[in-house]
Subunit: 274 residues, 2 copies
């Protein structure tokens, strides 16, 4: 889920909690089919504070995991959390996704979740991931798409608040609507056997845990997180933005609904070109 470059995910404690709430609520939807064989080498690129590392390790015991992130603070937070959860510690590496410190073909699998949306050059990162995968190795990518939000009741102020986040992320070089274009990105980076699977969240009064965990504590909290920056950037004013947040929360009432679609893609690194 998108933020701008000056507000890196997981640095603040509240943001850290938000990411973990999100991971718990969505784990089944996003990760139920993410398992890698014991003994295989897996790279989690852009692993952040480890919110996605926990389900990865729980669902794929015995993998040889490397977690890579550009932030030493995030890697430290992930290390602490994995230790607390009693999970085996992966190899932690601090580096940039577009210049991976690994030789060609070093990994059997790579896993990237909520990362490409922040990169000015996702195609360069994907080319690097292809390079460090062995021929026939697999890549799994999960991203959101802020264009997929479906509100009931629909509301212009809510859409405008979401648009602030999209605009700030674009200014920072990212794309909060990257989910829909995973297939062409992967094909363009030279991957084969590209399959994209939309993962829709639909929260209504019949699913109170999703309403609370996703609509209130994940999505609305994330939009609320860009308020000050959106006002500073002149994209909105405080009153309009607050009206948008109220309209987002309005969808959590008994007669409201909220929809969002994540996209999960899998692809295979082709045999090396001769």
């Amino acid at each position: 889920m998108g933020q701008d470059q000056t507000y890196i995910h997981g640095y603040a404690a509240a943001e850290d909690r938000r990411l973990h709430d999100q991971a718990a609520t969505l784990e089944e939807l996003l990760h139920h089919d993410s398992t890698f064989p014991a003994g295989s080498s897996v790279l989690e690129a852009g692993s952040g504070v480890g919110a996605q590392t926990l389900p990865l390790l729980r669902r794929s015991p015995g993998i040889r995991l490397t977690c890579l992130d550009r932030s030493a603070a995030s890697l430290d937070a992930a290390r602490t959390r994995l230790r607390a959860a009693g999970l085996p510690l992966p190899d932690f590496r601090q580096a940039d996704l577009c210049a991976l410190p690994f030789p060609d073909g070093a990994f059997d699998h790579a896993f990237v979740c909520f990362v490409l949306e922040h990169l000015p050059e996702p195609d360069a990162a994907l080319a690097e991931l292809r390079r460090v995968l062995r021929p026939g190795g697999s890549l799994t990518v999960i991203e959101g798409d802020h264009g997929s939000v479906l509100l009931h009741p629909d509301d212009e102020a809510a859409q405008a608040a979401i648009a602030c986040q999209v605009a700030l992320q674009r200014t920072a070089g990212g794309d909060a609507r990257i989910g829909r274009r995973l297939a062409p990105l992967l094909v363009g980076a030279g991957f084969v056997a590209v399959r994209v699977s939309p993962r829709p969240v639909h929260a209504d009064a019949g699913r109170p845990a999703l309403v609370d965990g996703f609509v209130r504590r994940t999505f609305t909290a994330m939009v609320a997180g860009v308020r000050d920056e959106a006002v500073r950037a002149g994209l909105t004013d405080a009153a309009a933005f607050e009206a948008g947040l109220r309209a987002l929360l309005r969808t959590t009432e008994a007669d409201g609904t909220f929809g969002y679609t994540f996209f999960k893609a899998t692809a295979v690194a082709p045999p090396a070109q001769r």
Copy 2:
């Protein structure tokens, strides 16, 4: 999928073919979990030309089916088609969905697909459906939501062309964005155990049958079908509308993607109130 009231689905031969193409492409996605026990009585309300009746009968052999529609011509077309497919003929009834010619509790199950979107009073139709279901009987509803369209590349002219269809359907009393609000509609009509399941279609170059069957021959064909009326109503001009159609077709190229989400709801009629 929506049209206005003066253009009832299935009357024209081209429209009839379009609806059958759509039904074949989407059958697995929408109907794989729609089965009713042999011997049970099932009402298909708003059965039209029978596009959804075929998968219904194929997947639930031995049901006692009643097909109801307000159009005698549509019922005739459905009868011809079911006969050609060698399927057992249901009981055909011509009547309005908001005044069902059946006693209370007459059916074990009811099935409504791409119908509520056209009704000025979907809540009245749902109340009637609840009345004719036995206590504990089930209702299945499938509808689209035109707000769920995700285009890559995204395009304002394409969005404007889709908005013409939404506006015409609204003028006719319908709601092309009804999918997102099935849960509150069903709860409001007195149903219990309401569950809504989004069914996303994601068409990219890796799924050529979906690109052709859904994006080209279903969705774009449907939008193209309102061109003349949209121009007459002053919602667009021919050049702008054509640009929108070209942009929709642009998503079918190798680096494009197209997304749409259907909503399937199931609910139960509660015990009669005393």
